[in-house]
Every structure is written in C-alpha cells, then in structure tokens.
Symmetry: C2
C-alpha cells in the first residue's frame, strides 16, 4: 500500500492511544494493588513545571482529534479537560478513538498542502498538512504519550517498552 | 508534495536529531554553569531500570541509521556505543545525520512493502517497510528523544517544548 496522509495519521493515532490506554490500565492496577490513592499518579509530574499525568493524556488526545479534524476540514470536537480519574481519562481516549474512526481516508488523503491554522498559547500557527502531521502532530503525540509512560514508570509502575510500542509487526 | 516514505523518514530524522542536539547543548551548558560533573547528567535515569541519558541518545541514533539503511537496502553502519561525554554524544548525532544525508529519495521511496528484518533482544522482528517506519521506528525515535529531554528537565535543565519541537512551521 502506498504511504498516504491517512495511513500516516489515523491508524498511527488509534494504535498509540490504544497503547496509552493499556499503560494507564497498568497505572490504575498499580494504585489498587499498592493501596495508593490513584490521584497521586494522576497528579504526578516529572518536574515541578511540567504537566501532570492527566494533562499529558488530555494533550495527547487533543492533538489527535485536532489533526484528524483539521486535515479532514471538519470541526474540531471540543472537550472540557475536566478528567481527574483513570476511568475518566480512559473515557476521553475512547471518545477520541471513536471520533477519529469516523474520519475516512477520502477526507484525509491529498491533504499534504492543505492549510491548517491553530492557536497555541495565544499564538497562531499556520502549516501545510504534511509538515503539520510530520513535524508537529506526531512529535507532540509521542512526546505526551512517552511522558505519561515515564511518569508512571518513574513512580514504580511496571511498564516496559512493549507496552508503549504494542506489537509493531 | 505527495507524502512519500522518504518524506516521512529522512527529513523527520534530521529534524529530530537536530533538536536533540540543541537539548543536549542546554544540558552541557547547565552542568558548566552549575559546576556539576556532566557525567551526572550523562548517567541520569528516570527510573533505576531505565537507560541513562547516554543510552537514550545511542538508541535514538541507532534507530535512525538502521531505518535509513534498511529501507534503502544498504548496510547498517556499526557504532561502538562507547560515548560517555556530551561532545561524544554530539559527534554520534552528527555522524548519524551525515550518514542519513547520503541516502537519497530514490533509495527510500517505494519501500512501503520492502521486507525488513532486525534483531531486538535476541528476537528477530520482520516488518514491511511502512509499518516498520510508522509503528516502530518513529515511535522509538520520539520515545528516546522525549526521554532524553525528560531526564534533563527532571534534573533542572531549562528545556521547553519548543526545544523539542524546533520551529515546526
């Protein structure tokens, strides 16, 4: 199959969010087994001025729904960013996967040159579709997924590289 | 420009390694300013059973040279994995960028179905080119780059998201 904008986005997103969901499952199970308030993990950070676990998941899903919608030229779904528990974060991931599953290859393919604008911290960024996906969306998605993983592993959760990668073959 | 295997690999690799190089520069400058042995950062980890900073950089560059060579059907360059200082890690990044710059679009494009095999921890993995790039190489590259960033930020180095992303527009 020839590489396309759809292939390089939606199936990657679904896979990454599925792996993130399983990593969060391990975090939740760890808190239950160790009788730790799950909120301790939800609010854990790698540095005082980095975002906590909950926000990492929110931003990862934001990037995915934003990219799918912008490349397809449809409205970006708005979420409240009010998740404070593992089940709520899982629901957010599921909602995001359900949304991107509604986007078809015909809506995404050919979007290499499509102009995409977004606001980040009061600044407007303008991209063409291809660099938006390759140099902004994917790096961001993996950044926040890896940081979520690292927050949990730093706190003792037994997650490993294969949880992050899934079965890549 | 239509998305191609080359576009989704080599320019992404060069960009990510360039950003990683700048992040390491900030780590080195931090050690000098604070009069900390740079080896403390080079050997820092986010968890006792995670790899230290030096190994994160080695694996990130391994993934890049391996992917460029395997998709192009040429021999993977072999590195010694003996870097213990910031200048040595920077030299490894430069060597990797110089190598992937020798690989042309004509060698990579059309490699979606090319069979790629590699050994990971005594196990042989077999991929087609497209899932190898999208579901293995890119997630790994961003994983180790993000972890390198997080190790430094966890230790007080003032790196921010824009150091990781570069200027994405």
């Amino acid at each position: 199959m020839t590489l396309s904008m759809y292939q390089a986005s939606i199936p990657v997103f679904i896979r990454v969010l599925g792996n993130l969901s399983k990593i969060l499952d391990k975090g939740f199970a760890f808190a239950e087994t160790k009788k730790i308030d799950p909120g301790v993990l939800i609010n854990a950070r790698l540095a005082p001025d980095m975002f906590p676990l909950s926000r990492q998941v929110q931003i990862a899903t934001d990037g995915v729904k934003g990219c799918a919608a912008r490349l397809a030229g449809i409205e970006v779904p708005s979420y409240l960013d009010n998740e404070t528990t593992f089940p709520e974060l899982q629901a957010r991931i599921k909602k995001t996967v359900d949304f991107v599953n509604t986007v078809n290859p015909s809506q995404i393919d050919g979007s290499e040159e499509r102009i995409v604008t977004l606001k980040v911290r009061n600044r407007e960024l303008t991209f063409k579709g291809q660099p938006y996906l390759l140099h902004y969306v994917l790096p961001n998605l993996f950044f926040h997924t890896t940081t979520a993983y690292a927050i949990l592993r730093h706190n003792g959760v037994e997650v490993g590289k294969l949880d992050y990668l899934g079965n890549p073959e």
